[in-house]
Symmetry: C2
DNA sequence: TTATTAATTGTTATGATATAACATTATTGG
DNA sequence: CCAATAATGTTATATCATAACAATTAATAA
């Protein structure tokens, strides 16, 4: 048993068969832990938004979240959703997918990472992986031109293996 | 004199001193050539939008373009700007920067490429570089999980060398 | 050329995403 | 408790983008 990890070892289970109930529960637990450790307040609306995001690996738009919040008895003005999302994103519990103006729960909320996303255009699920910062093409290019990176957006759209197979 | 090129050789001149008048003129010429070769029509409004984008290496939002179009005597309803931008983007003459909902002229409109952008948060200019598709972290990761990439978004926000120096 | 078709542009309206501003309530620390 | 801070409630508006259909212009082929 080697300790080597391939890229897929780091990928979110989005495109792999897995027990998503357990997947979601463990990420919710991790969120509670992380907030406790950092003295952050995972208030009811914030927890509810995270719960909604954790329902699947398909990102949700802010207004979809808002409407789910309304159904669950929360106030439903846009700032309610955006504030909760801001909290989750700022604290590394969720990510914004720029290409589709939507949000997804982070699949590795413990560690600092520069996430990269694979967005399936067919099943709409998003896999999150991350890359060693130093080794990315972006970092190499930035060093070459003296650019100081503060934030990165790395997203790919296409077809996941399952969807591609289904289309054959 | 080696034929090796470093990443900076491929970068747009955005963050380097250069004759931008010449820079813009040659890109406009290239656009005319490309359209002629492909039988595309660089109509007045499309050419004007490209001209506006070529005024600097700082991206412009669709409504900024719209207002410049109005000043220049063009019709100024949103679809006018979005259609021209769609044409330019579809034909590789401009790119959309997802992180800031804005558009920039392509700096290497001839060849197929997967562009990478460096967005300076201070001077708001954007450098475009590109990476050999096979070698990017995104492609390696995609191969590892069997994901078929159709489109990529790779953007970094931060500070260009000049702006960082100026801040010291 | 002239009819036919296709591409582009004009126009109105609306949809979708996001934030500013300020009032109110809840939590925390002294 | 009291003052300070953080979070939430609420209204209004800003910003970004497209649907739908009409009118015009350009390309094409009979
Ligand atoms: Zn899961
Ligand atoms: Zn899929
Ligand atoms: Zn230039
Ligand atoms: Zn700069």
């Amino acid at each position: 048993m080697s300790s080597r990890k391939t890229a897929s070892d780091f990928s979110t289970p989005a495109f792999r068969q897995h027990d998503h109930g357990e997947c979601a529960r463990s990420l919710m637990d991790a969120a509670h832990d992380l907030c406790a450790k950092r003295g952050l307040r995972l208030t009811p609306v914030r927890e509810k938004v995270l719960e909604l995001l954790l329902k699947s690996h398909a990102p949700l738009g802010a207004y979809a979240i808002l409407s789910e919040l309304a159904s669950a008895g929360f106030r439903a003005q846009p700032p309610v959703a955006y504030r909760a999302l801001d909290f989750l994103v700022e604290n590394g519990l969720a990510h914004r997918i720029e290409k589709i103006n939507a949000f997804v729960a982070c699949s590795q909320p413990r560690k600092e990472h520069s996430p990269i996303f694979m967005i399936c255009n067919d099943c709409h699920q998003v896999a999150e992986t991350s890359v060693k910062p130093q080794s990315s093409s972006l970092d190499r290019t930035a060093r070459a031109i003296g650019f100081n990176i503060q934030h990165t957006v790395v997203e790919a759209q296409g077809l996941c293996a399952q969807c591609r197979e289904r289309m054959l």
